[in-house]
Subunit: 241 residues, 2 copies
DNA sequence: GAGTGGTCTAGACCACGAG
DNA sequence: TCGTGGTCTAGACCACTCA
């Protein structure tokens, strides 16, 4: 027996799929919809929450519920990439970076295989697409591998300098998990705190086994994919794209 | 201003973290807790939903809310793995498989690069840890690469036969996304339909570029990680673990 | 049958956005 | 100021589990 919430969500989803509701359209108010479907407002809101989690509907406080424009999905390219590929594929997007010095503690120290309290450079990156933030990255590198006085450099310059300072990488480990955003992440990314995010922990080591970078990436779950392509090493080694 | 829901969730989370509530413990009933915190039952249930999404609390209909035993997280090993590594690391776990013949359609046909209607063998795998299901995999292979009459074979035998029939792989592409489970997936995995899952689409091709396997994996977001390790190809090629 | 969670109701009050 | 969504209330009724 499908719940009323799901019945309503299915109906609205169908309305969007068949073009009766178009991207950018404002939905009738929640009170209106509740009356149409003859349910209480909490029930209707639950139905909208389903669609919101699917990325079909966007709620804007004080304005209404809107059919989301089909956003290009963010693609995180993991693994087999050339060393100068940016951490997230931000091709036509803008990234703002802020660099600060912090000290390793807890999980972060373990990730970098450095003792607690070790000085680190944190590069906080926020990817934008138009007005809207859409990816958050915290990159940590040992201070000796960080560009000096780079607080004011633009993102591209920081990345370029990082690559120059860094020894060649031997191994990259990426761990992907799903979780709810912290409230800070939710407000930074302007997503609902109920929308799960893709959390990627990236650890890059040089040939000596030294961890030269740890990165914590947060991508909104409704529009992020992570893609890994592995070329198996056979007799012939395929060229990497 | 933190909401009451978050205040309550924070308090319960703290009770768990500090050991005042221990794994396996049953929480007081929702009505009881609502009275303690002086909130209505929906508000209290929202607070529990937060903890449930974090994997700290498990709701069991008709029995109560329980502090979750720290479950071993499921680790999906992607990318750089030897060909005979199972799709999901199910080491001490049991897997049941069911094999049926289906026809490629829509997304699946595109994934396999086969025309719509092509015959496929579907291997439906359900990973168990004890009584509890914890991973769902749908593996599709062209019929000529599927073991004949394998409907009744155990999982391990099916996988072994698959590997024997399959040409060496050249490229594996894995796409990871976050979404809510379908109602079928939620009931099969016995998770709440509000708990996001890690959805992994795996596409394996042989040296000729033919797709020899497409797999759709669904892992519960509260206890699943996907790990990718890339050994960069430098002068010396590191041995694969 | 007693107790539990699951769903839903019909409101109330507050916070936000736009005119 | 008005309409919107955000949060919350104090119940009701149903479904499930277990004794």
């Amino acid at each position: 027996m499908p719940s009323r919430r799901d019945t309503i969500a299915d109906d609205l989803r169908d309305r969007i799929a068949t073009g009766r509701l178009n991207p950018g359209d404002r939905l009738p108010s929640e009170a209106h919809l509740a009356a149409q479907y003859m349910v209480s407002t909490p029930t209707l809101r639950n139905a909208l929450a389903v669609l919101q989690a699917e990325g079909l509907v966007e709620k804007v406080h004080g304005k209404g519920n809107f059919v989301r424009r089909p956003v290009r999905r963010i693609t995180y390219l993991g693994g087999a990439r050339t060393p100068d590929t940016p951490v997230v594929d931000l091709a036509p997007l803008s990234v703002t970076a802020r660099t600060t010095k912090v000290r390793a503690r807890g999980h972060l120290a373990a990730l970098l295989k450095m003792p607690t309290g070790s000085p680190l450079t944190e590069i906080l990156c926020l990817g934008h697409e138009g007005e809207r933030p859409h990816s958050l990255a915290r990159i940590y590198v040992p201070c000796d591998l960080a560009p000096a006085a780079c607080e004011s450099l633009p993102y591209e310059a920081v990345v370029t300098r990082l690559m120059e300072l860094r020894p060649p990488l031997a191994e990259v480990r990426e761990e992907i998990s799903v979780r709810l955003p912290t409230s800070e992440e939710a407000s930074t990314l302007r997503i609902s705190s109920a929308l799960a995010v893709l959390a990627i922990t990236r650890q890059a080591a040089d040939t000596a086994g030294r961890v030269v970078e740890a990165a914590l990436l947060v991508l909104p779950g409704d529009r992020a994919d992570a893609v890994f392509t592995t070329h198996h090493m056979l007799d012939e080694r395929p060229a990497e794209a």
